[in-house]
Amino acid sequence: MLFYSFLTVNFRNGFLFFMNIILPVVLLLLFGSVFGKQESQITVAFYSDRQLTDLNSSWNRLESIPTVEEMKEMDSDIVIIANDGKIDVYLLSSFSSVDSEVTMFRLKYASAQNEKPIVNIVENKITFKRQLSDLEYIMIGVIAISLFSVGMNAGVTLFSEYVQYGLFRRFMLTNVNRLYLLLSATGAQIITGIISSGLVIAISWLIFKVNLFISPQFIFMYLFVVFASIMVSLGLGVVLSLIFKKSASTIAQILYTIFMFFSGVYFPITFLPKPLQIVSYFTPPRYMHVLFQKVYGIDIISIQGFWITCVLFIVIGAALGSYAIGKFLKPA
């Protein structure tokens, strides 16, 4: 029931709902509309044994069938090889929805002056080290910063506002124990975080055609990163509450704004002046962003580094949360 209460409050409280759900979507739309245009221009390279007409001018015609190694060197999202009535589609970018491009090509190929009908269309995925597009980078940043917001605001609400309003004093008179309280609070934030990031992923796909859906083999990693992100952010909220007490909420909003711009989640840190780049090393969203990139198959961190960071985040959050709950559930 305590878990249900925390979760319900997250969705009924106007401020928390705005920070946890609305703001990430607003940021997504804002940055998506700025960077989305370039992403909608999916680059296509194709080889066709038929003469095709009226193709998009940005499509790049290949004179011969490339090898896989040659494809990896190409700066294209997809490579389409149409030969002898068979179409092979090579997806070089796992983040873009290419259905419309493939459909358009198929129609052009089928309607060309020809001898044979289309026999088959085969989609091939080529996996190799790749860079994120600006939009993909930002969308993942939106997820990281939204989870940061969910966790930090939970910490501040629990240990600053609820303590201030006396709710913890009331809990002290019941049999609630600190582990149950901590698990209920963090559990509610994790569900909120999953919903918030799920919304970002869905809107990214629906509006900007950026495919941020998690591959099944990465689901566990994704859930672990959500948990770790919430815990470390909650820990930061606890620290703010212990230091700033009644003004913790205001400080949290200031920090959120600073982190948004200086953690490098909305643009690469190298864009920042050198002194400010140092600031980014002290911002949790920076590391959360890195962890999420790993979930999306970007080798920005080793797998050992990934798990160590996650566990460290969880330990920090659990220790701080447990300390704060113990402190506030102790007689004065």
């Binding site: 029931m1 305590l2 249900y4 209460s5 319900t8 409050v9 009924r12 409280n13 609820y162 309003y165 006396g166 709710l167 004093r169 009331r170 809990f171 002290m172 008179l173 019941t174 049999n175 609630v176 007689p331 004065a332």
Partner: protein, 296 residues
């Protein structure tokens, strides 16, 4: 002598020589009292008398320096069983403002091993119409009723009610008195802190008056009135207080506690003071006499 059984006269709370000293003040200075099952005990005192500190120590919200507290004749500290059997309504209550009344009751029920039926509680405290209303949309009086309801949510044997009728209109106050008396008749021991003297007088079996961390008077309301030596009280405007030597001034009024009522009235009339009231002493007069202050 305590009766440690679970019968009607069992001692549910026994406080002996309780002390809590802060560097600059003796907040609670060696006080002792007890509460029996089926009894309402009021603790009265001016601001800073030590009432809240005393209650918070007993509830387990503060540590004590010295003394012994015995709960239900068995427990010397606030353990889980004590928590299960104690209900509390703070003076200032806080809730999850975005939960509804029924969700809030269910939440608190879930934090105890035993509880009263939600519907029954809602019915008793007349919260039926607001059961699906979020707390933030309740009036002050409705919130107060909910806070008192939550003090009884775990069907406690010992209940602490700190200013339970603050913010209620006179009708709602009377209703709440009836509810409190009903719970008392079920054998619950109730510790009441109130600044409404009529409330203490109406509800209490025993009253403890505290000042400067000490209990300065104890007894039933009638015993306190009888033992105060007050026969009648004359209440008149403060600007005429110079007419008498032993008056107590509280706000715009002066209070004269006197045996020779006739001569005092004559003196007032001779001085052209006609807006005075002569009445029987109340618990408030006892309080005023003992502390020299009207309760805030």
């Amino acid at each position: 002598m305590s009766n440690n059984g679970e019968t009607g006269s069992a001692t549910v709370l026994e406080v002996n020589n309780l002390k809590k000293y802060y560097p600059s003040v003796k907040a609670v200075d060696d006080i002792s009292f007890e509460v029996n099952a089926g009894e309402i005990v009021s603790i009265l005192g001016p601001n800073g008398a030590g009432k809240t500190t005393t209650i918070e120590i007993i509830e387990g919200l503060r540590t004590k320096d010295e003394g012994e507290i015995s709960y239900f004749g068995r427990f010397k500290e606030v353990n889980n069983e004590v928590k299960n059997r104690v209900g509390v309504c703070f003076q200032e209550n806080s809730f999850f403002e975005d939960l509804t009344v029924s969700e809030t009751i269910r939440l608190y029920k879930s934090l105890y091993e035993k509880s009263l039926d939600t519907k029954e509680l809602i019915e008793i405290f007349e919260l039926g119409e607001k059961v699906k209303t979020r707390i933030r949309h309740l009036s002050g009086g409705q919130k107060q009723r909910l806070a008192v309801a939550l003090a009884f949510v775990n069907d406690p044997d010992l209940v602490f009610l700190d200013e339970p009728t603050v913010g209620l209109d006179p009708h709602a106050r009377r209703n709440l008195w009836e509810i409190i008396l009903k719970f008392k008749s079920q054998g619950k021991g109730i510790v009441l802190t109130t600044h409404y003297m009529d409330e203490a007088q109406q509800l209490s079996d025993k009253v403890y008056i505290m000042d400067h961390g000490n209990i300065i008077a104890a007894g039933s309301p009638q015993e306190l009135i009888n033992s105060s030596g007050l026969e009648s009280v004359i209440e008149f405007p403060e600007e005429s207080s110079a007419l008498f030597e032993d008056v107590i001034i509280a706000g715009e009024y002066a209070y004269l506690h006197i045996r020779d009522t006739v001569s005092a009235i004559r003196k007032l009339l001779e001085s052209n003071v006609t807006n005075f009231v002569v009445r029987q002493p109340t618990l408030e007069d006892v309080f005023l006499k003992l502390t020299g202050k009207k309760i805030d």
